[in-house]
Symmetry: C2
Subunit: 320 residues, 2 copies
């Protein structure tokens, strides 16, 4: 698999970041440390650090500086996952018990706060005020997005535009900022970091749409949760929105609520899968991906371009 090969060329620096992530969540509160470590051990693709490192290649790649941005972005992401698991009442994440499940919601709230605070500490090693401004703005947007996501639950009359704005805040922004801040920390000029921001934004949009497609098309085993779970919890994603453009389908979909059972959900999933909505969603995801690849062409020759392209292609093809 291509992504693995990409990771192997960065193995040393990524291992360093993985080690530092462990340090980051250390504290003299055993309880807090155990909670944070549990989350850390659950792993993840560390996609944000990868984007930070690759983007920094377009400037001066000094790992001792760059690592602070990579750590900050991954920690912010982790903190948001902890709080999201509270909202979603999730018992597991990546097959491991969540903090709210092992302890309780309140413990999870403070653990998220703590991890977030730690991320700020790493960021203070970056002197360029532009980086701080851009990050703070993005975090505010992410928070607003989380709130809007609650408000939008089971709002079947929402538009595709609502959906796109939501996934921008939920996913694309932090990936865009990972690329941008990696470049800024590498002291690239503005034209380059602006393009990398856009690259990250398009990649993030494509990534989230694919994620939302997989919620309908992947198996329960691949997902680690039943298919269609997003919809059953009121999170109305692109395939559902496309399917609802057909009135007969809309009539069925708007009946879904948290009490909808597995059998009924499977019927709904079957309808959505055979409505053309999945293909249309793939098309939009592909369009964002093409935009990302196009931006990449505009960037100067650099050894990071090939791996960035590989990530883009991986996202286009990923199955879970």
């Amino acid at each position: 698999m291509k992504l693995k090969r990409l990771y192997s060329t960065f193995k040393y620096d990524l291992d360093l970041i993985e080690k530092e992530l462990e340090n980051a969540v250390c504290s003299n509160s055993t309880l807090l440390q155990n909670a944070s470590l549990q989350l850390l051990k659950a792993g993840g693709k560390r996609i944000r650090p990868v984007f930070v490192l690759l983007s920094a290649q377009f400037g001066e790649y000094k790992i001792d500086t760059i690592k602070n941005v990579a750590l900050a972005l991954e920690l912010i992401h982790m903190a948001s996952l902890v709080h999201d698991d509270v909202i979603d009442e999730a018992d597991t994440r990546r097959g491991r018990p969540t903090i709210n499940y092992t302890w309780d919601d309140r413990m999870a709230m403070y653990t998220g706060d703590f991890i977030f605070a730690r991320s700020l500490e790493y960021m203070t090693n970056i002197s360029n005020p532009i980086a701080h401004k851009k990050l703070a703005k993005a975090i505010v947007e992410v928070c607003i997005g989380e709130m809007v996501q609650i408000q939008d639950k089971f709002r079947f009359d929402q538009t595709i535009r609502d959906y796109l704005r939501r996934i921008k805040r939920k996913t694309a922004l932090l990936i865009a900022v990972s690329c941008e801040l990696g470049a800024i920390a590498g002291k690239t000029d503005e034209r380059i970091y602006r393009r990398l921001y856009k690259f990250g934004y398009y990649i993030g949009m494509s990534f989230q749409i694919t994620d939302d497609i997989l919620d309908f098309t992947a198996t329960e085993k691949e997902l680690g949760k039943p298919a269609g779970e997003d919809l059953r919890q009121g999170n109305i994603t692109l395939p559902a929105l496309y399917a609802m453009q057909i009135p007969e389908l809309k009539a069925e979909i708007i009946k879904v609520n948290e009490d909808t059972n597995k059998e009924e959900m499977q019927k709904i999933i079957h309808l959505i899968k055979h409505s053309g909505a999945i293909e249309k969603s793939h098309l939009l995801s592909r369009r964002y991906l093409d935009k990302a690849l196009h931006i990449l062409q505009e960037l100067p020759a650099n050894r990071a371009k090939r791996p960035l392209q590989e990530i883009a292609n991986y996202i286009g093809k990923r199955r879970h």
Copy 2:
């Protein structure tokens, strides 16, 4: 009352900050905005902004710069209140319904996150990296402190040292940093901002001890909650710790739990009030206050010294 007079000399700048606080919590999520505004309207002493403004007087007092620090510190404080209300399952704060009460815990969690993110946005207008480093470190400590406070609940074997470390993180640190960052934003030299940090730290310790005394000595009307509520909820404060130095009293106090009724609590409060624990607590609070006033003497002549002294004296005498 002296404090009111002090505030009146800063009225213009404090009004500006109050207005900006309203802007700060604006967002295109009505729900989020309403929640944040509800908290804002509940008011508060705005003690952190006052310390920021006064400390900045020791350097170049430029309100357009300084206000960012004042806003950031007050917003961080507000965010922590929102999350604390979730932990404490509080229904009201300053006589108004809490966010977790009006909406729910999850709404309160995200509102706290949002307000915190906004505070960062204001801080990015401060260019001195030292300010950011000091603030980030303090926030991490505050988060650890919140977690430790949960762990220490009903831990009747804790020491006075444990208590002092806890109130440092809970209260004194952010007040110390308010003074320090106000001075740093005013570009004072290091000797001055270090002293102001210490001043704030001592004031904060004294303030919190007084708060913890009042929980036993003030009336239900003054407190807005029954007396002894801290202890009943397992938050073991200085008067209780001093009282427990008497074995017969300890035997009574360790029986307290969340089911202890009002009558039983009043008996316990009576015992504590007549054990000498209140006087001993006042003595320690006074010692911190004297240290604060002593530091003030060491600071250069400045029109901010008198109001800082007045705040210190107010804290020494306040009754609720």
